[in-house]
């Protein structure tokens, strides 16, 4: 049985929001609906400040709080782990919006901004109305693409391949291999967001690396050697 998951390597994310846009285009999300958000987080106090980008999207939990809270059984967990909001069954109660510890369900009641009428060629042929008005909606891991063997739109769009999608149960999938490689090469283990919420999310993250030591994969000649890197850093007078 497949267990789809998305791994986000925070070291690679440059906060370009390409995923946000790709998602909006792929899913045809209306005004103020973002399935793939990127949080721009600034922390610390001058001079010790840090800025990181945290892409967030539905975590497709094993024990989804949103699903358990839905009174209409409009939220379904598929056998492959993808959690979907059925647009036909949803009655817009809004319990799931609060239930999701990650704030990844979006419900606009009495929606005024909606797609334009299908009068022009663009609206007829290009705008995809996958979503219903005034009901809850969230990221689907692009289930319609995954079912065709494609990667989700945000994964395809990411210019730095910070997003890795695949089947956790398959040791040969892209995501499993990446996790294993990173554990061996950088010692990083994937973590989940807000684990204390107890929803057992599928989506996982790899931490940023404070000390980036480039690995030369056996190359010894020159560029990016660990020693070199360290000496350049000290030369520039950094701690």
């Amino acid at each position: 049985m497949a267990r789809y998951s998305m791994l986000i390597d925070l070291t690679r994310c440059i906060g370009c929001d390409a995923c946000t846009l790709a998602c909006k285009q792929e899913n045809g999300t209306p005004y103020d609906t973002f399935f793939a958000r990127v949080l721009n987080v600034e922390s610390g106090k001058y001079p010790n400040v840090k800025r990181i980008y945290v892409p967030v999207l539905c975590n497709h939990c094993d024990d989804p709080a949103c699903l358990k809270s839905c009174p209409n059984k409009a939220i379904v967990r598929r056998q492959d782990g993808i959690v979907l909001v059925d647009q036909e069954r949803c009655k817009g109660t809004g319990a799931c919006v609060s239930a999701c510890p990650y704030g990844n369900i979006i419900l606009h009641r009495n929606e005024e901004e909606w797609y334009l009428d299908e009068t022009e060629r663009y609206e007829k042929e290009f705008v995809k109305k996958r979503l219903k008005q005034n009901v809850a909606r969230k990221c689907t891991y692009c289930a319609h693409r995954v079912d065709q063997g494609l990667n989700p739109a945000c994964v395809v769009a990411c210019p730095t391949t910070a997003r890795i999608f695949g089947d956790l149960d398959d040791p040969n999938s892209e995501v499993s291999i990446y996790i294993q490689e990173q554990a061996e090469q950088t010692g990083r283990k994937p973590f989940h967001l807000l684990e204390e919420a107890g929803t057992q999310p599928a989506g996982c993250y790899l931490a940023t690396m404070a000390e980036q030591v480039p690995h030369t994969m056996g190359q010894t000649d020159g560029i990016g050697e660990a020693k070199d890197y360290e000496s350049r850093r000290t030369a520039r007078g950094r701690k």
Binding site: L39, E42, S43, S98
Partner: protein, 373 residues
């Protein structure tokens, strides 16, 4: 499984009706509801044995008229004084057969309205403790604690108003369902308002008719529970139909718990109506047993409540109220330290995520979130 249970109940009921005979002057006791608890041979059931009773007629009739313990008060309209007197002589004439004293009496003698209400109070307390525990989990998911500073800025008075309005509109009136699907709202209302009616009538009966004396059908105290029960029965039939027909009823996580709730509800409703019907047709030997079964089913419905679909009764209104509160905070336009958030209303959860990520990176200190950088 439900249909089988229903069938067994029906067969038992019909067989019992077939066995019952019309009243003859000689054996009034055997045709009254007395035998339900005191046994066909008056050697006891859930109630004490009456054979060779040493009571005086005066005391005997006063117990019958005012009730005692679990025994309901039986008024003139149901049993006249002449019949009462003849029952008295009948049971006194019955032979004393100690072997026939059933085990049920050994249990039954401990049951009184007081002990039963204590059992149910304990069940309610148990359910309430786990319901509060469950609710605290949901409020933690909703990050209510992180929302409070913004709520404080908006004003507590307005916040309480929003919550109360949501509890009435979204909770009791189920507005979202009404707007989306009026037929579903009505069928859901049968269960919801039927349940409300039953609880209300139970409270009213406890106040106005504590001995549970027999009332005429037109009495509001009788009419309310019967109509509420009918509503629930209709609702349950619909839900069972939907569970059979709906291919998408399995959401992959909660199906077992959903069915547990539905099955218990079916048992409660069917046994409840069997009690009323059997009493109406005078099939008295089965009434008490099925009534006990009914109480047991209600007990399990309450005790398992916080773990089955039952919990949606308090979880959904609470979460919907929090959602409305968040919407009110966004609409009030209080200063949250940034100009505008994409898909507003999730800032408090985003900061929580950010803090969690920074914790994993070994960082601490104040966090600033930037939107539309």
């Amino acid at each position: 499984m439900n249909f089988k249970t229903l069938l067994i109940f029906l067969i038992v009921g019909i067989a019992a009706i077939g066995n019952s005979q019309g009243p003859t002057r000689k054996d009034i006791f055997g045709t009254t509801s007395c035998i339900g608890c005191h046994g066909q041979s008056a050697m006891g059931g859930l109630g004490p044995p009456l054979a060779q009773a040493k009571l005086k007629l005066k005391d005997f009739s006063s117990i019958v008229r005012t009730g005692k313990g679990m025994m309901p008060a039986i008024k003139e309209g149901e049993l006249n004084d002449a019949d009462l007197a003849s029952i008295y002589t009948e049971v006194q004439a019955k032979p004393w057969v100690p072997d026939e004293i059933p085990i049920a009496y050994k249990v039954g003698q401990f049951l009184s309205p007081k002990s039963v209400s204590h059992i149910f109070l304990a069940a309610f307390l148990f359910a309430a403790i786990f319901a509060i525990r469950g609710l605290s989990y949901w409020l933690k998911c909703a990050a209510v604690k992180d929302l409070l500073p913004a709520v404080g800025q908006m004003g507590w008075f307005k916040a309480v108003g929003t919550i109360l309005k949501s509890l009435v509109v979204d909770g009791i009136c189920v507005a979202s369902l009404y707007q989306a699907d009026k037929k579903r709202w009505l069928l859901h209302g049968l269960l919801l308002y039927g349940m409300c009616g039953l609880i209300l009538s139970d409270v009213l009966i406890a106040i106005f008719n504590p001995q549970r004396g027999q009332l005429p059908m037109t009495n509001p105290l009788k009419l309310l529970p019967v109509l509420s029960g009918l509503a629930i029965a209709l609702g349950v039939v619909y839900v069972m139909y939907r569970y059979k027909k709906d291919d998408y009823i399995d959401n992959g996580v909660t199906l077992g718990k959903d069915f547990l709730f539905l099955n218990l509800l079916v048992h409660v409703v069917v046994s409840g109506f069997l009690v009323v019907t059997l009493k109406r047709f005078g099939v008295n030997d089965w009434v008490m047993t099925i009534y006990m079964y009914h109480l047991a089913a209600v007990f399990f419905l309450i005790v398992t409540g916080p773990f089955t679909r039952f919990q949606h009764m308090y979880v959904v209104p609470a979460l919907a109220a929090v959602t409305r509160l968040t919407e009110a905070v966004v609409a009030s336009g209080v200063d949250l330290g940034f100009e505008r958030e994409p898909s507003p209303g999730r800032h408090h959860k985003s900061t929580k995520i950010a803090a969690d990520v920074l914790k994993h990176l070994g960082e601490e200190g104040p966090i600033v979130m930037r939107y539309y950088p």
